[in-house]
């Protein structure tokens, strides 16, 4: 099973809101909405793994870190996100990172 990490992104949230609307108007069942979200998880994971090529560098100072259940959570301050083209500066960023290994290890983790 793929990480449900990407449901709380702009894309994922838009999808969830749309699904909620459809459920409200009785056009789909909640079970179907859940299946849609699971398919979204698979799709976004494979898309990011296979179709994304660009690279972003970032640098900041570490405020806190956490590692539990194989998930890293960082809070950085005064961060500069640098891509070849442009630069973005932020005061605070929270990074949640899951292990980027193959499907087999993911299955083991889920059990």
């Amino acid at each position: 099973m793929a990480y449900q990490l990407y449901r709380n992104t702009t894309l994922g949230n838009s999808l969830q809101e749309s699904l909620d609307e459809l459920i409200q108007t009785q056009q789909i069942t909640p079970q179907l909405a859940l299946q849609v979200l699971l398919q979204f998880d698979k799709a976004i994971n494979t898309a990011l793994a296979n179709r994304v090529r660009n690279r972003v560098n970032f640098r900041g100072s570490l405020n806190t870190y956490r590692f539990c259940d194989n998930v890293w959570t960082f809070v950085l301050n005064d961060v500069e996100f640098r891509e070849v083209t442009d630069l973005v500066k932020v005061d605070k960023v929270k990074i949640v990172a899951c292990d980027g290994k193959s499907e087999s290890t993911q299955n083991k983790v889920d059990k």
Binding site: T64, Y65, R66, F67, C68, D69, N70
Partner: protein, 320 residues
């Protein structure tokens, strides 16, 4: 505890072994009243003869943990200020010895001999002082090993939910597949703690005994704030590591030939000579450059004693 160890060390290094015995008697009596009374006078004295004494005893290396051991929190909050103040009081402790020795022994020659670091033999303070065989005053190193790492353990004496701690506390790592403890870090004092589900904790990385205890208390407070009934039982320093530079190169091969029952030296494996001193039980890593690492101590005094034992030996193997 730290202060008495350092005072004894200074007594020993200033006046040789004989006054080590005398210093023990003088120490507690003369230092405490003298501290408060003679601080200002001592500053003047220090300014006057600071240059001469500074050549022999590099007092700028004084450990920062001298002086009255007050509340650990207070000690921590004002680390910068009192560190210098404590250095000063440490200095004045040395001078107090001078002045008290001068007044009690009325042997100004001794003071003069020490200040100018002459080669005249050291005179005992009183005729009744036993003359035990000792390393001569010229071999006194004037170098103080600096503590680099302290490892301590403490028992919080309550079972802990490590996953809960890892999820709630900041700066924590928990990977039970790899290691069955939460690894937590704090910035001041900069230390790392291993917290186990039994409630036992290991604290590493502090540079002094008091900092180690303070850090351990901070970790205990974090655990307590998360809702566990944490206590602070059996805090014990398990290991102390110190290092220093004796400022001359050493003939390690010669040393291993002469002291082979204590030394092990495999330059193809590790460039340092491993000297296992029997009394005190300290392991020293001795390098060609003259850098020495001392480890295995439970007390600061053991480090100082081991270094004073090894220094004359190393002087004998100086590379010309």
């Amino acid at each position: 505890m730290d202060e008495s160890a350092l005072e004894r060390y200074f007594d020993d290094s200033i006046a040789g072994d004989s006054s080590f015995l005398l210093g023990e008697e003088l120490g507690p009596e003369s230092l405490d009243p003298a501290h408060s009374q003679q601080d200002s006078a001592l500053q003047a004295v220090k300014a006057g003869s600071g240059a001469e004494l500074g050549d022999e005893l590099d007092l700028s290396f004084l450990p920062d943990d001298l002086g009255p051991q007050e509340e650990p929190d207070r000690h921590d909050d004002t680390a910068g200020g009192p560190a210098e103040a404590l250095n000063v009081s440490g200095d004045s402790g040395v001078f107090t010895d001078f002045i008290s020795q001068d007044s009690t022994a009325a042997n100004s020659q001794q003071g003069g001999a020490l200040l100018t670091h002459s080669t005249s033999p050291f005179c005992p303070m009183t005729p009744m002082t036993p003359m035990t065989p000792m390393t001569p005053v010229m071999e006194r190193s004037g170098i103080i090993p600096q503590l680099q790492n302290i490892v301590s353990t403490v028992n919080l004496s309550c079972p802990l939910d490590l996953k809960f701690i890892a999820l709630q506390a900041r700066n924590a790592e928990y990977n039970p597949k790899r290691f069955a403890a939460v690894i937590m870090r704090i910035r001041e004092p900069r230390t790392t703690a291993l917290i186990f589900s039994s409630g036992k904790m290991v604290c590493t990385g502090a540079k002094s005994e008091e900092q180690s205890r303070l850090a351990a208390r901070k970790y205990a407070r974090v655990v307590q704030k998360l809702g566990f009934p944490a206590h602070f039982l059996e805090f014990k320093i398990q290991n102390m590591v110190a290092s220093c530079d004796i400022c001359f190169p050493i003939r390690l091969e010669g040393l291993v030939l002469k002291h082979q029952q204590f030394c092990s030296y495999e330059p193809e494996l590790f460039p340092g000579l491993i000297y296992r001193m029997v009394k005190p039980r300290i392991v020293l890593l001795i390098f060609v450059s003259g850098k020495v690492v001392l480890t295995g101590a439970k007390e600061r005094a053991e480090i100082y004693e081991a270094f004073e034992n090894i220094y004359p030996i190393l002087r004998g193997f100086k590379k010309q």
